[in-house]
Amino acid sequence: MIRLENVTKVYPNGVKALDDVSFEIEKGAFVFIVGNSGSGKSTLIKMLMKEINPTSGSLYVEEKDITKLRRSKIPKLRRSIGVVFQDFRLLEKMTIYNNVAFTLKVTEAPIRTIRRNVPMVLSLVGLSQKANMHPKQLSGGEQQRAALARAIVNNPPILLADEPTGNLDPKTSWEIMKLLLDINLRGTTVVVVTHDKEVVNSMKKRVITLREGRVIRDMQKGDYGYEN
């Protein structure tokens, strides 16, 4: 589903954010990516979204080398990847319903699909009752649920989460993680970047550890493995 071959990223200012990284993530997997601040985790996510390109190496998403993707094909790639961030990035002027529907509007889905899918994912993330509220009226955990709903409403095969629980208390973090697991159980490949040691240790999923841009550890049913 996702495959990196000798990926190196050097930013224009000379910082080597990723250094000869190779690994593969199979379809339907749930993978944690951990590592110190500045180890290159977000760089990896940005590369998968083709927001930035690697300096060398190849990146395959669904067997296609996205480093060779034409500009006009980028939207199609991004439609196959849902993404959530630490800061939710909801649009304040829109209701939760419209924030979620936005993905489908932007991708020109039929109105029928919007009417069916939006309530469905809202109920999946437990926000059916708050559909008509605005992001500001919701708690952090609820906002992240809304962001998750927006990311998966068009059924992308891949979900990327860059520190999705970074702004949340432990209890709420757990709820979000459970939700990510639910989404994974529906068949979506889930990649979670996190600093949440407790969560990683108790979930017993594959853990890829980065340090200074290199993969230093890659374990099935792994743990956080180092002290922050």
Partner: protein, 302 residues
Amino acid sequence: MKIRTIFYLMGQGFMNIIKNQLMSFASITTISACIFMVGIFYTVSVNMDYMLDAIETTMGMTVFFDEGTSEEQIIEIKSLLEARSEVHKVNYISPEEAWTNFKNEYFTGKEDQLAGFEGENPLKDSASLEVYFARLETQKDLVAYIEALPNVRNIRQAEQVVEIMQSFNTLVRYSSLVLVAILLIISIFLISNTIRLGISTRQKEIEIMKYIGAKDAFIKGPFIIEGAIIGIIGTVIPLSIIYVFYERVIEVVTTEFVLISNYLIFMNIMDIYKNLVPMAALFGIMIGLIGSRVTIHKYLKV
């Protein structure tokens, strides 16, 4: 792209303008000024051409001949002139006609003073040719040609009015071109700034659109439409103003310049607008699109 999407993008474009009133207003005002100048320039210039055209066919010169030139010789010259392309028409005025015209002009109501002239034509050597020009530009050449012909005594011409109008026309043309160019640059600058402001207030939305997989056209659409709408509004306003005031200005001009009012023949506004409207609309929309293009290209990279 779906029709629904196009409507959505148009709605967003309108929203941009409304949210960004001050800058939109400034952009629309400069485009309006620019198109206004184009409109005035075109209207004046087209009327001038129209008048000159009319004058060209009504104005001519009169050629007089040496004493003793026979009617046959004059008729021969007439056919020579008629063969030339600069000449629209040539009339032969016989001595009799000349005398009749003269009498009508100067002795109407004073017929008693003509007593001594009976049976005699004092203008018997005043046969002449009235030459009407096909084109005014070649008037000088034609005059030179006629002066060189045998038996020609002198030529009376009325070219001053035409010359004044022609130079005025040129002046209008150049000065408005300069003004239009300046306003054009200001318009494009202001529009691109308006659009840039719109982009920056929607930065977050644009970023989200990008990572949920919006196509280029979807992200840029509202801003392109914003530019086009500004261009269209900026065209409609000045054209309406010109339309409303056209007749009144004509009235004022005709009463102010009574002396030359015979030469002041104005075109129908509809005849002017059938060319001006599409031209101005194209121009206005182009300004709008170029303005937004410049900014989008710079600030909206997917």
